[in-house]
Amino acid sequence: MRKIDKSQILSTVYKQWEENFETNNLPHDKYNSATNDYYNDVVMNLLYCQKGLCAYTEVQLCPQEFIEKENWLQGKYQFNNKVNNGQLEHFDESLKSKRNDSCGKKDWLWSNLFMVDSDTNNRKATKEVDYILKPDTEEYNEFELLDYDTESHLFGANLSLPADIRFRINYMINEVLGINFPNLVDKRRNTIVKAIEFGTDCFENEFPTAFEFYRKKEKKMPT
């Protein structure tokens, strides 16, 4: 789960709208993916920042051509590309209004939004989050916080961290973000092992963090 730089704002029209809520301390419009004017802009800008990958699991959510800068004009995304296996996710669900709330909360807060693999998002649902693994914060550093076991292909907390911090990180990895979900581990393991075996890892976009850990530990760069 690599660090995400969300300062690259292409959806300037949305951002202006969002900042208006924030600077004037107003409740946001209630979240509605179907009718909101900026939904598609937010989705495509996030995917641009996330290089087309799920913010947590690093599986690919859309083809590379969807996230080219050329698809944008005057702060609006120009196409209606569908990201079938990805969902717009509120990292901290408590900031999103509920159906019965009379008005919105911080439903469209840029810093709280990520694009996430649909299965992962459904599993995460309303589980309580720990900001320690929020991938766009200044202090987040995947190589200091995480470790990767190249045998089991499971992520875990960096063993050099204190036990209480490790507990918090492992809770997020295993219970909230779904990074060690069994099917995902199979895919990650086999993608890494086979891509290196075939020498095709240079073409591979998915799982950059796991690849990085794997290469560092195995010290076996492909020939």
């Binding site: 099917n183 086979k194 020498g199 073409f203």
Partner: protein, 460 residues
């Protein structure tokens, strides 16, 4: 009552078959009867036969004759009423029970003992696999011909009366809740009796209090006070039911409301289910999973099961895998002191059991039925080599349910296709001067097939 051993010399497919239903050596409950037992095995291996045998034993033969027959012979069942041991022998369809107590007991004394043992608890609750099929008759208005006497108001004097045999048997029978044999509407009327009474009383109180306010007899500002007073004096039985059933119902986006809600007399008939934060789902529109849950869990919530045996055939019916994963734990928490006997075909249900709680039935090479044992040497917790709770679902299918393949035969063909692509990629890599575009294209194709195989790409 808890069953600790079954021995069958010769009955149907069982020949010289013995199953130990106690905790093994090394267990904290070593030697005591198991709290829950799971029968698994191919169709025809006798799971239902064993359930029916237990059904006959716990009911002391007071069940429909179709579950007992003359071929039932040389069957021995050991059980315990707390510390008192009972040996039951079935021969030619007749049950002979011997209670090992300090005193010799005749028929009357034995039933007297049993009735005092079951004075608060019920004897057994039996759920057939097809429990949903009786749903319409539960909702029906038709009165039933069969009469059931009230459960708890029997007086001891009944033993002194001339009708002793009939009354004692009747009272004992009324503590057997068999949803396959008994008339289910009558059973449900009994189970929901307190809720229905509460609803009627609540309705009557509200009507009464409204009239008092309208006539000026009660000041409107005292209305809430009166309501609170009534609520304190009349505990709401729906509250406990809703709290427990909603643990699972919420996963179907449904709920039972603790507050009584009346629109018509129909509302008094049965439990009402609502969409979470939404309207009511009429009984006729309940999903089969909703029916299965309510029809099985409600009796376990409402009836005293402290000394009961609970039989559930195919608890997986109509439940999605995530609910199957939880349902056994859910049931056993609702009836923590009961002994459960379950028959299943579901690897997920089986994973809720410890290995000594599973009785896997299979045919030996000579066609006899045997129990597949999961331990080597002595029956000790440390000698078990299969622990379903540690296995993946696919491993349970392979190791416990003996499934030979890891998927549909089409999967094997797709794995071969993937293997060919992999070999081609390796060849290109070894040649050293492969066209990168070709490599990339082949890698994308490889990944496409691997995705279809869910990246479980090793041949088994």
């Amino acid at each position: 009552m808890k069953i600790s051993k079954i021995e069958i010399i010769d009955y149907n497919q069982f020949k010289n078959f013995t199953v130990d239903l106690t905790y093994p050596k090394g267990h904290a409950k070593e030697g005591l009867p198991l709290d829950k037992v799971c029968f698994i095995g191919q169709s025809g291996t006798g799971k239902t036969t064993l359930l029916n045998l237990i059904r006959a034993i716990v009911s002391h033969g007071l069940i429909e004759k179709s579950y007992m027959n003359e071929n039932m012979r040389d069957i021995l069942v050991e059980s315990y009423f707390d510390n008192l041991k009972q040996l039951s022998k079935i021969d030619k369809g007749n049950i002979q029970n011997t209670l090992f107590s300090d005193m010799q007991m005749d028929w009357q004394q034995r039933f007297q003992y049993l009735l005092s043992y079951y004075s608060e608890s019920n004897v057994s609750i039996i759920f057939p696999a097809e429990i949903n099929t009786d749903f319409n008759s539960i909702l029906s208005d038709e009165k039933e011909k069969k009469e059931i006497i009230p459960l708890k108001n029997q007086q001891k004097e009944v033993f002194l009366s001339n009708k002793i045999e009939i009354d004692v048997e009747k009272e004992f029978k009324n503590k057997i809740f068999d949803f396959e044999i008994n008339n289910v509407k009558t059973i449900w009327d009994l189970i929901l009796e307190d809720i229905q009474k509460y609803k009627v009383a609540n309705l009557s109180f509200r009507s009464d209090i409204t009239n008092k306010v309208q006539s000026g007899e009660l000041a409107p500002e005292n209305l809430i006070l009166e309501l609170n007073k009534w609520n304190e004096q009349n505990p709401n039985p729906l509250k406990d039911l809703a709290e427990k059933l909603n643990l699972i119902l919420n996963k179907f986006n449904l709920e039972i409301k603790a507050e009584p809600d009346f629109k018509s007399a129909e509302d008094l008939k049965f439990i009402k289910v609502y969409q979470k934060n939404g309207g009511e789902i009429p009984n006729n529109y309940w999903s089969t999973g909703t029916k299965q849950l309510i029809l099985t869990a409600t009796p376990l919530i409402k009836l005293n099961t402290d000394k009961s045996i609970v039989l559930i055939d195919e608890p997986e019916r109509s439940f999605y895998p995530d609910i199957q994963q939880e349902i056994i734990n859910f049931y056993t928490k609702l009836a923590p002191n009961a002994q459960f006997f379950i028959a299943t075909h579901s690897p997920i249900i089986a994973s809720s059991f410890e290995p000594w709680e599973i009785v896997e039935l299979k045919f030996s090479e000579n066609g006899d039925l045997v129990q597949d044992l999961y331990f080597k040497g002595e029956r000790h917790v440390e000698n078990y080599f299969i622990q379903p709770q540690y296995l993946r679902w696919d491993s349970i299918l392979n190791k416990i349910f003996d499934l030979e393949h890891d998927g549909n035969p089409a999967r094997k063909l797709k794995l071969s296709e993937l293997s060919e692509k992999g070999l081609k990629l390796k060849q290109l890599k070894e040649q050293g001067n492969a066209n990168p575009e070709l490599m990339k294209k082949l890698w994308e194709e490889y990944k496409g097939i691997a995705e279809l195989l869910d990246w479980k790409i090793e041949m088994q």
